[in-house]
């Protein structure tokens, strides 16, 4: 036997045995297979099959002609995107707004969860928690009209800052682009912080109370308990949610931006979602909307995989 032949033989045995062991393992795990494979087929049908429609990104799609008879245009829809200065501006705005939102909504909801957890009075705790979740049920139209009136020349914010002597004359908050991201992030945090807290509360609820009891016996302070029991208890949840959210980096939303933008701040307010709505849907250009959508998905998935990889490298819980 030559060396090559030996290698080949070795290769065959390992692969074959691996193959064989794959099927035997699968057979052994048949209950898990029953629990997951039908769901897998469902997901493929309902989520992956429709993506065949992505061909329209490479067509000049007309609903009347369908996928089969619309004209093919190659990459021209993507070229239109890359040639448009507004696309880059909106790209920047999307990334910046969603990054700010990511940082602030994560930090605030964790802090709120920790503080809620420290409330001893059960009734008060439940009341605060319920109330903090109410804004989630207000539509953006209502929230934005409140934002606009709070920030108006004679609104609460200007009154307060004037009263404290921080500003000398009222500021037109929505008239300057560089305030826009801050305003939007604050509105977002306000609306969703209570809602985002719920998931951490659930994680805290799962922490074994015995740990706290033991810590008290050891004379741990409130902050030590937070630092060494509560935070580690919700770390996994935090990391997983963070990885997932990083994958939505391109989704900065469109409703609040649409409602709060105006001629003066438009360079900071337009997002890719608004871009797609404008050039895709309003102009019936389903192809361009799809092309932009594919682009966003690609970036999202790349970010997701990167975040997941980093988590793996630093030895954290990971998504995939």
């Amino acid at each position: 036997m030559t060396m090559d032949a030996i290698d080949l033989e070795r290769y065959r045995t390992t692969v074959l045995s691996r193959k064989k062991s794959f099927w035997t393992t699968l057979l052994k795990q048949k209950q898990l297979v029953f629990m997951s494979v039908p769901v897998l087929l469902y997901i493929i049908l309902f989520f992956y099959v429709p993506t065949l429609g992505w061909v329209m990104a490479f067509q000049n799609f007309q609903p009347a002609k369908g996928f089969l008879h619309s004209a093919w245009v190659g990459l021209s829809n993507f070229r239109v995107l890359f040639a448009d200065a507004d696309f880059y501006r909106d790209f920047r705005n999307s990334i910046c707004m969603s990054s700010l939102n990511l940082v602030f909504s994560f930090s605030t909801s964790i802090v709120l969860a920790l503080l809620l957890n420290e409330i001893k009075n059960r009734f008060f705790k439940r009341a605060v928690q319920t109330i903090s979740y109410l804004p989630h049920f207000l539509s953006w139209v209502i929230v934005c009209s409140l934002v606009v009136s709070t920030l108006s020349l004679d609104g609460a914010v200007n009154q307060l800052l004037l009263g404290l002597g921080i500003i000398q004359k009222p500021v037109v908050w929505l008239g300057q682009g560089n305030y826009f991201w801050g305003i939007l992030t604050s509105a977002n945090v306000w609306k969703e912080v209570g809602w985002n807290t719920i998931i951490y509360l659930a994680a805290i609820a799962a922490i074994d109370p015995a740990l706290y009891e033991a810590a008290v016996m050891d004379g741990a302070s409130r902050f030590q308990k937070m630092r060494y029991i509560t935070l580690p208890g919700i770390k996994t949840t935090f990391v997983i949610l963070l990885i997932m959210s990083i994958g939505w980096i391109m989704q900065a939303g469109f409703e609040p931006q649409y409602l709060l933008r105006n001629g003066m701040n438009i360079d900071f307010a337009e997002t890719l979602d608004l871009y797609i709505i404008k050039y895709g849907f309003q102009m019936s250009n389903f192809s361009l909307a799809t092309a932009a959508g594919i682009l966003m998905s690609t970036i999202n998935i790349a970010m997701l995989l990167t975040a997941n990889y980093i988590a793996k490298k630093v030895g954290e819980e990971r998504l995939i």
Partner: protein, 302 residues
């Protein structure tokens, strides 16, 4: 020793004080807009347009609520909404948790493959028309099933539940297995009950999402009044009030009597917000028990 104890106690008092004040401020900031919305919803529609309503209606009126309940379409739609919310939530929770359990088993040979397939669904969207053509060919158009079938699983919730399951003590699964329990049995008897806090959370997510849906009615069932959901009926009313052409009643009607019994977008929007949110606010405390009060995991362990 006594000194340090005192200091800890003082620190505690200070902390609790500040925390309490912070929470009270939070209550004000979070509650005010909602109370404001309630006040506007009970105010005369035309008068609300002037602004300046805070916590109490200026001219009390039930006209917005009358408009919401006028014609009675909302009542039937309410039952459709409840039905879809309950059925879809139960199904979604069961199937998603089952999948989460399977994918939480580190030894499961298809785990990674299926996880990737499921997780990626969160990051792309095939577009409206492809979904429409698929649902149409599956006969889901003009059917109640379109509320249920496409939403039987949620990737986000799968991840959340799986993460939670992994924090549960592995020893319990092991001992059950030694006792000869199969995967289904372990899932139903051990994992499912232990997951209550996270299932309450996820159920809330699914239920609120289902409850707030109107888009599927709009695209797939808009021609069938019997399948209309409450959110869709509310959207209908809102659209009809906010469109400039729809409200001839509002136009030019300067009568000597000054008829003011008019609904306006601002009053209708507020009434709709209240009507849509109330059921969720009522349900909330029941679910809240599971994640705010906490679950004594230790006691179940035995």
């Amino acid at each position: 020793m006594k000194n340090t104890l005192n200091r800890t106690q003082i620190n505690d008092v200070i902390f609790n004080g500040f925390n309490g004040i912070f929470m009270l401020l939070l209550i004000v900031v979070m509650l005010y807009p909602f109370l404001n919305t309630v006040a506007i919803s009970f105010n005369d529609g035309l008068d609300s347009v002037k602004g300046g309503i805070y916590l109490w209606p200026r001219i009390f009126s039930l006209q917005s609520y009358k408009a919401v309940f006028f014609g009675g379409a909302v009542y039937h739609a309410f039952f459709i909404s409840v039905a879809r919310t309950v059925i879809a939530t139960v199904l979604n929770i069961f199937i998603t948790t089952m999948l989460s359990y399977a994918l939480s088993r580190r030894e499961y040979i298809l785990r990674k493959f299926i996880t990737v397939i499921v997780v990626l669904t969160m990051y792309f969207n095939a577009g409206l028309i492809p979904y429409y053509l698929l649902y149409k060919s599956l006969g889901l158009r003009n059917s109640f099933l379109v509320y249920i079938i496409p939403t039987m699983i949620s990737a986000f919730n799968m991840v959340v539940i799986r993460t939670y399951i992994r924090t549960l003590p592995e020893s319990m699964v092991e001992s059950a297995r030694i006792d000869g329990a199969g995967e289904f049995r372990i899932f139903l008897r051990i994992i499912f009950p232990l997951c209550k806090p996270i299932l309450a959370t996820v159920a809330l997510f699914v239920a609120v999402w289902q409850w707030n849906q109107w888009f599927d009615t709009f695209i797939y069932n808009s021609g069938v009044q019997n399948l209309s959901t409450m959110q869709y009926e509310l959207m209908k009313l809102l659209t009809s009030t906010t469109s400039a052409n729809s409200n001839p009643s509002l136009v030019g009607g300067v009568g000597a009597t000054g008829a003011t019994n008019l609904v306006t977008p601002i009053s209708i929007r507020s009434a709709i917000t209240v009507v849509a949110a109330v059921p969720m606010i009522i349900v909330y405390p029941f679910l809240q028990n599971y994640f705010v009060v906490g679950l004594a995991v230790g006691s179940i362990k035995e």
